[in-house]
Each structure stands twice: as structure tokens, then as C-alpha cells.
């Protein structure tokens, strides 16, 4: 029995458990993409693109070790305070701001893609602002509870992933392994080009860099969790890709932008005729969890940047930003596509290039600090 007041304060800064960390990464990565990943991949390397997905996963795995290496050098910092320490204030601050813009951009993209999907599949006449408003307010409420609430919530909501998997498994009874052949028909060149698309679907792992210091456990345990989460996501995607590639033939796939939904649409249970509607309803929750993470990341960045402890006002600020940008862009296909391109390519910079640059910088910085101290 320790003295009570101390424990009370500890509760506020209670760290995430490994399991919560795992599910935060998983839920952030599995989001809007699930429905369209098979189609996107297929557009490059046809039936062989699952190989691209695997290769992409391996590439990301290497990157994750790099991210881990960076994060472990700063055991008490988030990404934003790390930037200050690594690149000095003059470079670090603008970099953090750019990161915040990136996160806001991804959040907006999620809202747009989500609203577009809902308007295509479920509610064609509902205006964008209704969907955006609902998603943004619910997620603001979610994020307002703090990281710990996010961790708890994501862990609990992850049983829905099992549900999604079950629905997909249900539809695999009409699959044809034949559709996967001939293998390597498109050639390795196309497969490597497909890696490009595969990596898109994994963006979101950057969350592990930002909240690394807020997780309890040794560095090794954390690395294990990050790697496990990554391969869990990979398997999940691989499973969806396999299911849709074996259900639709190579010539059919370019016609179905959301193969998983089309696949489920063909089946009906005795009680429920349209399983795809249920799938999409559960998918909404996965979208909400990914969006909430980006909302959290950007508001965390803002509160770190302006040294204000209350994150809640920044959540509102970011929420309003995301809402207005998404209303500004609207549901126009071409505009969304352009925006999508902008965000994904900036993803290359912020999720791939910058972490790779950080690896040597953080190492040098640490070495220098040690030298300075001794």
C-alpha cells in the first residue's frame, strides 16, 4: 500500500500496455483501405500482386526496425519533441508542423474516402457534411478520453475484426484457386512496381514512432509488439487479397473496385439477405478507429508544439480543420483522386524517407549527447 495521492497522479499518466499498443497499431492500419486494397494491388501486378504485398510487408518490416531504433533513443519523447532534439529547434519545429499537416491530410483523406464509399454503397443521397460531421464528432469524443481510452477501445473493438474475417471466410466457399495461376505471368518488374501500391496500405505504422514512449515495457518487448502488429495486418490483408483474387478472376477484378463487398453481396443468409451492408457497417468502426488515431496524433503534435498540456482544445481545432477541408474538397471524384495522390506521395516523405533519415541522425545525436555528458 503506497500513499494514495501519488498513485492518483500516476493513474493519469498510466502507460499503454503491450496489448493496447498492438491493437492501436493494428486498428490504425486497418481502415478505409481494406475494401479497396485487392483492387488497387490488382491494377498493377494482376493475380501476382499478393507477392508484391508480401514483398512490401518485408520492406516495411525493415523500416519498422529503423523506426524502433530511432524511438528507442528517445525514451521520453513523442515524435514532435524528438524532432526538436534531433534537428534542433529551427529545423525540428517546421518539421513537426509539416508532420501535423500530414496527419491532418491523412485524416481528411480518410473522411473523404469513407464518405465516398458510404455514398456509393449505402446512402447515395446523403450529403458529405452529414457523414463528415458524424465521423468527426464521434472521433473527437473518442480522442478526448486520451490515449488510454483509445487503447482500451481499440482492444475491445478488435473483436469486430474477427467478425469481418468470419464474413470473408463465409464467402470463400466459392473460391477457385485456379484464378491465382499462372503465377509470375506479369513478370518481376510488375511485381516490384506493385510493392509501391502495397506500401500504401501499410501507412499508419508511423503511429508506433509517435507513441512509442507512452507504452510500458522494455524496448525489446515493444519491438516484438510492433513486428507482431505488422504481420497481423499483413496476414489480414493477405487473406482479403487471396479471398478476392480467388473469387473473381483476373478479368473480372478490374470491374469491381470493392471486391470484398461485391463478393459478400452475392451471398445471403436465411435471416439477412445483404451481408455486404453488415460488413460495411462494421467497417465504419474500423474507419473511425484509424481516423481517431490521426486526430490524436495531430492534436498531440499541436499540444507538444505549443507546450499546452490540455490537448482537448487542439482536438476541436483539428476536428474543425478536417471537417472544413473535407467539405471544401467535396465528393468530386477527380478532386479526391488528386488529394489522394498528394497525401500518399507525402506519405513517402513522412512515413518512409524521414524515418530513414532519422536513423543515423538519432544515433549520432545520442552518441554526441553521451560524449558531451562524459
Amino acid at each position: 500500500m503506497t500513499n494514495p495521492p501519488q498513485q492518483m497522479t500516476q493513474q493519469n499518466e498510466q502507460k499503454l500496455s503491450q496489448r493496447q499498443f498492438f491493437f492501436i497499431i493494428v486498428q490504425t492500419q486497418i481502415g478505409v483501405g481494406v475494401l479497396s486494397v485487392p483492387y488497387e494491388l490488382h491494377s498493377v501486378a494482376k493475380q501476382d500482386s499478393w507477392i508484391s504485398l508480401l514483398l512490401g510487408a518485408v520492406a516495411i518490416q525493415v523500416l519498422l526496425v529503423g523506426i524502433w531504433f530511432v524511438a528507442k533513443n528517445f525514451p521520453h519523447d513523442t515524435l514532435f519533441t524528438m524532432n526538436d532534439k534531433m534537428f534542433t529547434k529551427w529545423v525540428g519545429r517546421p518539421l513537426s508542423i509539416l508532420y501535423i499537416f500530414y496527419f491532418i491530410g491523412v485524416g481528411t483523406l480518410i473522411i473523404l474516402l469513407f464518405s465516398r464509399m458510404i455514398s456509393i454503397w449505402v446512402l447515395p443521397n446523403t450529403p458529405l457534411w452529414v457523414m463528415a460531421l458524424l465521423m468527426v464528432t464521434v472521433c473527437m469524443y473518442m480522442v478526448g478520453g486520451g490515449l488510454l481510452v483509445l487503447g482500451r477501445l481499440y482492444t475491445m473493438l478488435s473483436f469486430l475484426l474477427v467478425f469481418l474475417l468470419c464474413l470473408i471466410i463465409f464467402s470463400t466457399k466459392e473460391t477457385h484457386i485456379m484464378y491465382l495461376f499462372p503465377m509470375l505471368e506479369t513478370g518481376w518488374g510488375k511485381i516490384f512496381a506493385g510493392i509501391n501500391k502495397a506500401i500504401f496500405s501499410f501507412f499508419g505504422f508511423i503511429v508506433s514512432l509517435v507513441i512509442f514512449s507512452k507504452v510500458e515495457g522494455t524496448n525489446k518487448q515493444k519491438l516484438k509488439t510492433i513486428v507482431m502488429a505488422h504481420w497481423f495486418v499483413t496476414l489480414f490483408y493477405l487473406f482479403t487479397v487471396f479471398a478476392s483474387f480467388t473469387f473473381f478472376s483476373t478479368s473480372e477484378l478490374p470491374l469491381v473496385p470493392e471486391p470484398v463487398l461485391y463478393m459478400l453481396k452475392t451471398f445471403s443468409l436465411p435471416i439477412i439477405a445483404r451481408i455486404d451492408l453488415f460488413f460495411i457497417s462494421i467497417w465504419v468502426i474500423n474507419v473511425a478507429t484509424s481516423f481517431a488515431t490521426y486526430l490524436y496524433l495531430s492534436s498531440l503534435g499541436l499540444s507538444d508544439l505549443f507546450k499546452r498540456h490540455s490537448q482537448n482544445q487542439w482536438i476541436v481545432v483539428v476536428g474543425i480543420c478536417v471537417f472544413s477541408i473535407s467539405i471544401y474538397i467535396g465528393l468530386d471524384m477527380s478532386k479526391i483522386e488528386t488529394f489522394n495522390k498528394v497525401v500518399t506521395y507525402s506519405g513517402y516523405i513522412f512515413s518512409l524517407t524521414l524515418p530513414l533519415i532519422m536513423v543515423p541522425v538519432s544515433y549520432l545525436r545520442k552518441k554526441k549527447d553521451k560524449g558531451g555528458a562524459s
Binding site: M142, R152, L153, M156, A288
Partner: protein, 547 residues
């Protein structure tokens, strides 16, 4: 009435004031072993009594603003007085134990009564009078004797109407707190059962007790509850429900954050789990904190059944939660947005049922749900026979007529009735009301954006439940934060001997609730494998080895 009413004024001699310091010193010495009373030792003011009987009586009379039910009986020809509230004290006791001996001249006998207590403090006398004591004062003596002659009228501990069980204890709390504590102490016969009294309400001076198991309950939670009770500064406190709103974490939440119960067995079980109970004088309801969402789905009956049945009933109850909250919303979403979800065979009957209704489904649903609430509220306070009539008129007549008149569809009546039944399955009245309240926003969401609206609504509720805390304990435990071990008593009810650990959400200091208790099973198996001399009932396996 035999009492002689007298205002004794200026009749008695002058007392000497010099004795004051000396007696106070003397009394302080004696307080080393003092009687303990309900009131906590606080900074209540003191007023030393005087030697003059008339002054003392006047002080007391003024303190009670000449209240008429304060009786003064003058004894010994004006040299002594007995004061008590005729509304609080028991006449027979006074007559037998005090009045008679004094009249007979055996005044000393009275002071040796076991419930007698001496004091020099008039303020204390004022307080004890309110507690139902009788006061005896004599001319020329500073000592005032107090006798506990409280009368109490109480129900017998009957089974609470709203928490009946099929099997198990059939007693319940009553309005008298001492009886309630007695019921708990009888069930938890252990020295660690700690009870702390509080006086709440500046005008009502309600006795409130905080009950917990020292060494099991988290001292931080106990302290937190005490702090919150201390900071409660209100004129009136009349029941735990009243206290609840003052000390709960978030009052703007539909979900109750403390468990209300009138069952001593339930309180005892929760105390041993490491939770804290709050009782109040004058109310049979006891609050249990910290509470979690799933505690409201546990009923004492579950533990008296076989665990298969117990689990089944639990699952039914949790299923009822989903029905109560989402069924009307789901139905509205289906008929107004997602007709394609209905299987082919059902489309014609459903369509036929709703085709001739003039109103949109959302309006139908809202009207029906409100009608059900009306019937419920009308029936709840009426005497049972009329209540039944209301049920029949409301349920059967209106339900039937409304369909025939073509105002509401058949299916909608079924849906709303099912929802109402499901909401009553919850063992806790508070939560059941909360669920019925949550139906409305979901109906509206479903009526405007269909399934997606329901998903957002449910997500919002789940987020709210996850964010909610009861005395620093996550409300939605063991789901969020997920604790797989604690699911043993949430969705399922595993056999009692498997509940080795106390639930984590109670923050119990001592986590282990039971040690392996079915060792004899191993022994039996060993015996069988050894093929020992059968028939002898050996008490333990050690005997086997010595043999």
C-alpha cells in the same frame, strides 16, 4: 398523561463558577476511555452545564425553540428533572427503568443502568436528546445523566420487492440502519469488516455509514469515498440516491455509476470482493461503489443456479441489452433504408404490414415507445389491481386498436413490445431506465441515416462507457480495459471454485479470493489409481502415505 409541565425559572440557588476549570481538567483526564457514539468526534461546540437546574433546563428548552414534544417531568419536588422527546423515547422504558426507581427513592440505582452515561456538556445533551435519549438532571449537580430509551418502529427485514430471487436469502434491508448493518455483520463475521459513520445534511443530520473490508478494499477508493462524503455540504440528505448524485464521477451520464441494492447478501458479496458500501439511515437502499457496467447484469440468483443455467441466464440478459437498445432502431433502418436486407420470403408480409400506414416508421416507433412508457409510468404507482387493469387496457386494448385503426403497423407493435420486455430483463432498475432512454437517440439516428446511424450511435455509447469511471475504476471493465480472466463472471458464470481471483476492477488489495478447494478430487483419482483398500473414508492424502 401523568406528566407535570413546568417552566423552572429563577427558582434555584446560585452556583459557584470557580469550579469550572477544575472540573474540566478532571473530565479531560477521564476521557481516556470514553463511550463511543454514532457521531464522529468533530469540532462540535461545547457548553458546560451549570449547577442550577433551571438554567440547564432553560438552555435545553431554548435550544429546541420550546418545541412541544419535548417533555419535562419534575421529580423530587422540583429538585430534579427528566427530559425527553415523547416522540422519540419509549414511554414504557422510561417508566420502568427511570421513573419508577426515582419515585421509589432509589435514585442511585438509575445511574447504574447499563445504558446510562454522565456528561457535563449541555450541547452533547441536546444532541443525545435528538437521538432519543432521556436526560436526568438534579439541582446542585453539574452531572447530567443520559439514558438511551430510543423507540424505533421498523419493518421486519422482508424480501425487497424489486430484487426478488427464486432461491437464496429472502431478507432485505429496512429503513433502520442498525438493522441493516446487523444483517451485513451476520453475513460477514470477520474483524476486518469496518464501518465508519458520517453525519450528513446540516439540518437532517442523517447518519451515513461507509462499510468495507479493511485489507481487501482498496484504501485509496475508501479514502476517495470519504473525501467526497466530507465535501458534501447540503441541508438535507435523505437517501443514498440523494448522496449518489453528489459523489458520483459524472452526473451527466445516463448510466448509474453506483449499484443500488436492498439485498444484504448482495452487499456482503460485494464487500468481500473489495467494494465499498454506503448506507444511510432511513432508507433500505445501499450504494455499492465502485461499480462497473456488467455488475448491473449480475443477479444473486445466478450464483444459486448450476453454472450452465447461470451462464445461460447471463447471456440472455446481455442479449436483452442489445435488443433493448437497438431493435427498434434496427427495424426502422431496415424498413426505411435497407429493405434489401430482408430475405425474399419475408418481403411481402413486411411490405403488406407497413404499406397501409400513413406515418413514416420513425414516427410510428416514437409514438409506440412513448405509449409504452406512459403505460409503465401509469401502472407503477397504482395499487396492484388497478395497475393490472392499466396494463390490460394499455397493452391489449390500445395495442390492438392502434393496429386496427391503421395508425401503427403490426410489426412495429411487436418490435416495441419486445424492446420493452427486453429492457425489463436487466436486474437493475436504474440501468433499465437508462437503456430505455438510449432507445430514443438511436431511433432518430436510424430514421435519418439507417445502419450507419446505428453504428455511430452504438460507437458513441461504447466510447462513453469506456471513458466513464466510477471512483477511478474503469466502468466498462473487464471489456475495456480487456481482462480475459475477469470474463469468468461477466458473459458467463463459471463454477464458483474457478473464481480464484477477485475481479480486477474492484482494485482489491488481496487479489486471491479462494485457494484450491477441490483437492479431494485429485485424492479420489489417486486412490483409484492406487486401488487402495476401498471403502475407508480417509480425510486427506497424507493419511494415504502414512498407511
Amino acid at each position: 398523561m401523568v406528566g407535570i409541565f413546568l417552566f423552572i425559572r429563577g427558582k434555584l440557588r446560585l452556583g459557584d463558577a470557580n469550579m469550572g476549570i477544575f472540573t474540566r481538567f478532571f473530565r479531560n483526564n477521564r476521557d481516556k476511555l470514553a463511550d463511543r457514539h454514532m457521531s464522529e468526534p468533530s469540532n462540535e461546540k461545547e457548553r458546560p452545564s451549570s449547577k442550577k437546574l433551571s438554567e440547564n433546563v432553560k438552555y435545553i428548552l431554548d435550544a429546541f425553540h420550546q418545541s412541544n414534544d419535548l417533555k419535562i417531568r419534575v421529580l423530587k419536588k422540583g429538585d430534579a428533572a427528566l427530559l425527553y422527546f415523547e416522540s422519540l423515547a419509549e414511554h414504557e422504558k422510561i417508566h420502568e427503568k427511570i421513573f419508577a426507581p426515582i419515585e421509589m427513592g432509589h435514585t442511585e440505582d438509575v445511574f447504574h443502568l447499563p445504558n446510562a452515561k454522565q456528561t457535563n456538556d449541555l450541547e452533547e445533551v441536546v444532541r443525545t436528546l435528538l437521538r432519543g435519549h432521556a436526560i436526568y438532571m438534579e439541582e446542585g449537580k453539574k452531572e447530567i445523566s443520559q439514558f438511551s430509551v430510543t423507540s424505533s418502529f421498523g419493518r421486519t427485514p422482508e424480501e425487497p420487492q424489486n430484487e426478488r430471487v427464486v432461491r437464496g436469502a429472502h431478507d432485505g434491508f429496512v429503513e433502520n440502519m442498525m438493522t441493516n448493518i446487523n444483517l451485513v455483520r451476520k453475513r460477514v463475521e470477520h474483524r476486518d469488516l469496518t464501518i465508519k459513520y458520517f453525519k450528513l445534511g446540516k439540518k437532517t443530520n442523517t447518519n451515513v455509514a461507509v462499510v468495507y473490508m479493511d485489507g481487501i478494499a482498496d484504501p485509496m477508493i475508501v479514502q476517495e469515498i470519504e473525501t467526497r462524503l466530507h465535501s458534501l455540504d447540503s441541508d438535507m440528505i435523505h437517501s443514498p440516491g440523494h448522496i449518489e448524485e453528489f459523489i458520483e464521477d459524472k452526473s451527466n451520464s445516463p448510466f448509474p455509476q453506483m449499484l443500488n441494492t436492498e439485498r444484504p447478501d448482495r452487499v456482503a458479496a460485494n464487500l468481500v470482493e473489495g467494494r465499498v458500501a454506503i448506507m444511510a439511515e432511513g432508507s433500505p437502499t445501499t450504494l455499492i461503489a465502485p461499480a462497473t457496467f456488467f455488475m448491473f447484469y449480475q443477479a444473486p440468483d445466478d450464483y444459486n443456479m448450476r453454472w450452465f443455467t447461470g451462464t445461460f441466464v447471463r447471456l440472455i440478459r446481455l442479449f436483452s441489452f442489445i435488443i433493448a437498445v437497438t431493435l427498434p432502431a434496427f427495424y426502422i433502418a431496415v424498413v426505411s433504408f435497407h429493405f434489401e436486407v430482408i430475405p425474399d420470403e419475408l418481403i411481402i408480409p413486411v411490405k403488406a404490414s407497413i404499406n397501409e400506414i400513413a406515418y413514416p416508421p420513425i414516427l410510428e416507433a416514437l409514438v409506440m415507445v412513448i405509449i409504452i412508457e406512459l403505460i409503465r409510468e401509469a401502472g407503477i404507482r397504482l395499487p396492484a389491481p388497478i395497475g393490472q387493469t392499466i396494463g390490460i387496457v394499455g397493452g391489449l386494448v390500445i395495442g390492438d386498436a392502434v393496429v386496427r385503426a391503421g395508425l401503427v403497423s403490426n410489426l412495429m407493435v411487436i418490435v416495441v413490445a419486445l424492446t420493452a420486455i427486453a429492457s425489463f430483463v436487466v436486474p437493475s432498475n436504474e440501468l433499465s431506465t437508462a437503456l430505455r432512454l438510449l432507445t430514443f437517440p438511436l431511433i432518430i439516428l436510424a430514421g435519418t441515416i439507417g445502419f450507419i446511424g446505428i453504428v455511430f450511435g452504438m460507437l458513441f455509447i461504447i466510447i462513453h462507457l469506456t471513458r466513464l469511471q466510477s471512483f477511478g475504476v474503469p466502468y466498462f471493465a473487464p471489456l475495456a480495459p480487456l481482462s480475459l480472466v475477469d470474463l469468468k463472471d461477466t458473459f458467463v458464470r463459471l463454477p464458483m471454485y474457478m473464481m480464484k481471483l477477485r475481479p480486477k476492477d474492484a482494485h482489491a488489495v488481496k487479489p486471491i479470493a479462494l485457494n484450491p478447494s477441490r483437492e479431494w478430487k485429485n485424492r479420489d483419482e489417486q486412490n483409484q489409481s492406487k486401488q487402495g483398500s476401498g471403502g475407508n473414508d480417509q480425510p486427506s492424502s497424507t493419511d494415504d502415505t502414512t498407511k
